[in-house]
């Protein structure tokens, strides 16, 4: 394989503590190395910023609910299609882009890894077919466990070992990456027309509470020693006053220590925190509780979060939180799709317009930014838009702009129709923090990689790590004249090298890379009871046989990268 050297760039790498030093980055055989020979191809990064490839910890980019969005929203593709161009196939879609456009857009922004945040296990084959068709970026998918009948039944009897054995089996057959929990118990309760809005609301029939599900899954996660922690979308998403449920959920993790060999330090990852940080009792007195939430996270080192920033766009919401989507369509009267996934989960899809002239949307925008600005440790707070729920991932550069420039935030606040209301219900107007390039590298690279248990592989530029390197048209020595320049620079990187191969040059795709599917292969103790239970459920309840369930072979996972976990001891 060829050698590469990136010369003269300003390097930002939290893994090695490099804060904008001029440094050459050497690449050989897809890895970062100390030095290369004189024949290495030179990429000049003079006056440019060099960072590791970015890591997406939470996005909905592949699978049946994403595709349902694409199918039932042809208007999302209206005026957003791009024809075949050079290396690129045609693509389309604004909030729910086609698989190809998804891969290209991430690569053009310098992303190396993206995690699909909610895989319905029954449809893992569909998820993997879409992952396969998303070029360049490495992807993994989190199967959802929080409303799964096996989990509910085992945890009702506090059977952590059996839960863990089931999780290990499911990760293996679905080629999953982590334990995802969405509205624990609430989505199952939706099957009875109910919901769980607090951690103590019992799930009908199963007679278990969300708190018991969360605690049990954290324990099962640590029992197995998985690379990522339990990844949770708590109960009561998106409702005024929901921050109390969020605090109650996080309290469950207190005192639990991480146990893994991947350097992960958290036992709970709280996702799209913005949607879970609302105070007030209705949409009229709706207010930010970002301070209460970030105070708690700042004090509890065994929790990481991502933001879920609202980008003020027209988008498509989609979640395994079925009852929430039903609630949402009642609010905005737009088209609603819903699906029950047998013994496992459910999903809903509703289009949504975050309008800057609606005070609630503007307050949501402020809350997302407040969370990022109030978190003391950027290694534990990652930037997401919960794509496409709070906005499309293609808006990340705009979120970076708002975080890195107080001027840009002020301009946005001044343009709001209900500016005074936004300022009275939030503290965004009092925050003068501006995220630095180094902090941005922590929040988008080193941090999420560490939380995912991938710290040894990506998110940094240390010799031995994967050679994912993004070069941006930003000269950190010069003051930013116009905040829009930040957005422009991060939208299209000058160059992006993925696994040692240059895939983007001057913002254009030049190579379709060699994408991988990341999954976690747990070697667990044999558990005949769980195997018997699985067999029984397939015979009695599932609409398909166990033989047709597994996502396997070249068709579904053509280029797998398995992370081995030994949980036999």
């Amino acid at each position: 394989m060829s050698e590469l050297i990136i010369k003269n760039g300003y390097v930002f790498d939290p893994v090695q503590g490099i804060k904008g030093d001029k440094k050459d980055i050497c690449i050989k055989d897809g890895k970062i190395v100390d030095k290369v020979g004189s024949s290495a191809k030179v990429i000049d990064a003079k006056d440019k910023t060099v960072m590791a490839g970015a890591v997406e910890i939470h996005a909905h980019v592949a699978g049946p609910k994403v595709n349902l969005g694409r199918i039932y929203r042809p208007e999302d593709k209206l005026f957003s299609c791009t024809p075949t161009k050079g290396m690129e196939r045609m693509g389309g879609g604004a909030s729910i882009p086609t698989t190809f456009k998804t891969g290209y857009e991430y690569a053009k922004m310098g992303f190396a890894v993206a995690m699909e945040a909610a895989m319905p296990p029954l449809f893992s084959r569909h998820v993997h077919e879409e992952i396969r068709d998303t070029p360049i970026i490495d992807e993994g998918a989190f199967p959802v466990f929080g409303n799964n009948w096996f989990v509910l039944e085992y945890l009702k009897n506090q059977e952590i070992e059996n839960t863990a054995a089931y999780c290990a089996w499911l990760l293996k057959v679905t080629k999953g990456y982590a334990i995802k929990v969405v509205n624990p118990g609430g989505t199952e309760a939706w099957g009875w027309g109910l919901n769980c809005l607090t951690v103590n609301d019992p799930v009908p029939y199963f007679d278990i509470t969300p708190a018991e599900i969360v605690k049990g899954l954290i324990e099962a996660n640590e029992y197995l020693g998985l690379p990522h922690s339990m990844h949770i979308h708590p109960n009561n998403l998106g409702n005024p006053g929901c921050y109390e449920t969020t605090l109650d959920t996080m309290k469950i993790a207190q005192g639990i220590k991480p146990k893994n060999k991947f350097g992960r330090e958290q036992v709970l990852h709280l996702t799209h925190t913005q949607f879970h940080s609302y105070g007030g009792t209705n949409w009229g007195d709706f207010e930010s509780k970002a301070k209460e939430i970030t105070d708690f996270v700042n004090k509890n080192k065994n929790i990481t979060i991502d933001t879920g920033n609202v980008t003020l766009d027209e988008t498509t919401t989609m979640t395994a939180d079925g009852p929430f989507e039903h609630h949402l369509t009642g609010l905005n009267h737009l088209k609603w799709a819903n699906c029950d996934v047998e013994l496992e989960t459910a999903a809903g899809v509703v289009p949504y317009i975050y309008s800057p002239s609606i005070s609630v949307c503007a307050i949501q925008w402020a809350i997302g930014l407040e969370i990022a600005l109030m978190m003391k440790d950027p290694m534990r707070c990652y930037i997401t838009t919960d794509h496409p729920n709070a906005g499309p991932f293609t808006r990340y550069p705009r979120v970076y702009k708002w975080l890195m420039s107080e001027k840009a935030r002020k301009a946005q606040i001044d343009s709001f129709k209900h500016k005074d209301k936004v300022l009275s219900q939030t503290v965004i107007g009092t925050l003068d923090r501006e995220i630095s390039l180094y902090e941005l590298a922590q929040m988008t690279r080193a941090g999420p990689a560490k939380s995912l248990g991938l710290a040894a592989m990506c998110g940094g530029l240390k010799p031995g790590m994967d050679a994912d390197v993004a070069i941006y048209n930003i000269n950190p020595d010069k003051p930013v004249a116009n905040p829009d320049d930040i957005e422009k620079a991060f939208s299209r990187c000058a160059a992006f090298i993925k696994s040692g191969v240059q895939v983007v040059s001057n913002g254009e795709i030049v190579n379709n890379g060699n994408k991988r599917t990341l999954w976690v292969n747990v070697k667990a103790k044999e558990n005949p009871q769980v195997m018997r239970d699985i067999n029984e459920k397939f015979v009695k309840y599932y609409s398909m046989t166990q033989a047709n369930y597994e996502a396997l072979g070249h068709h579904f996972v053509p280029n797998p990268y398995a992370i081995e976990v030994d949980a036999t001891n």
Partner: protein, 266 residues
């Protein structure tokens, strides 16, 4: 106002997507520059000049530009697409998406037009002297934002699904319409001087429909609400009033529920 005349000379083998035939795209351009404007024939990119002979030159702005389209343009789509000002006259019949997403100006088709004319129209005036196809002034596929402003006059008949998801503006059909009028509408007005088929105002939240002729089958979701004397588009007459669609949600304004209105001339 400057006039550009484009005349079909080499008819396309496939349908031509000519969204550049609009005063906005022509403004400030010479005949030669207009000939270079991009179009699609099927899935192949091409130029306007390959099919049309172009004479005259455009005004400095869209408002100063008039386009006259001559010859057989039955296989041309998107004439007047997104136009904001100026004038377009199509001397014959044309295909789909005439005046789609138009915001202003005046567009006249002297013959018939295909489906999806004035899709999501926001303003301006569309006059169809022949017949209109289906989905006149409707929303784009999947979208919930149909025609929101402007005026459409059809001198002949209109097809089905006109004014679907209509939010505002006015459609007048001098002839008859097929099934589905103002389905899902949340505003706007449609006047049908001839007869209407069935499913008139289905799932209508707000908006008004007048039918001068007969309605084959009334929607069961509409409730009789008395008789009124009204002057509609210059005609004074007595109308039977119906409100609905009772199966839909309806907003309250000043404590009173606002229904969709259907008036049928007695």
């Amino acid at each position: 106002m400057e006039t550009v005349t484009i005349t079909m000379k080499n008819a396309p083998a496939l349908y031509l997507e000519a969204d550049t035939i609009s005063p906005d795209a022509f403004a400030g351009k010479s005949a030669t520059q207009i000939a270079e404007l991009p179009v699609f024939e099927g899935n192949s990119p091409s130029t306007l000049g390959k099919y049309f002979e172009i004479s005259g030159s455009a005004g400095a702005t869209a408002a100063d530009t008039k386009i006259v389209v001559r010859g057989d343009v039955k296989k041309v789509k998107y004439i007047g697409f997104k136009m904001t000002a100026g004038e377009v006259v199509i001397e014959g019949s044309t295909d789909q998406y005439v005046g789609a997403w138009m915001k202003g100006g005046k567009l006249t088709a002297k013959g018939d037009v295909g489906a999806f004319a004035a899709t999501a129209m926001k303003g301006g005036e569309l006059i169809i002297e022949g017949n209109a196809g289906n989905y006149l002034g409707a929303a784009y596929r999947g979208d919930w934002r149909g025609m929101s402003g402007g005026k459409i006059l059809v001198k002949g008949n209109a097809g089905s699904d006109i004014g679907m998801y209509m939010l505002g503006g006015e459609i007048v059909v001098n002839g008859n319409t097929d099934v589905h009028v103002m389905t899902h509408a949340e505003g706007g007005k449609t006047i049908i001087k001839g007869n209407a088929a069935s499913k008139i105002g289905g799932q209508m939240v707000e908006g008004t429909i007048f039918v001068f002729g007969s309605i084959d089958v009334m929607m069961p979701g509409f409730k009789p609400d008395g008789e009124v004397e009204l002057e509609v588009d210059g005609t004074k007459a007595k109308f039977a009033r119906f409100i609905g669609d009772m199966g839909e949600r309806h907003k309250k304004k000043k404590g009173i529920i606002v229904y969709g209105n259907l008036y049928k001339k007695i």
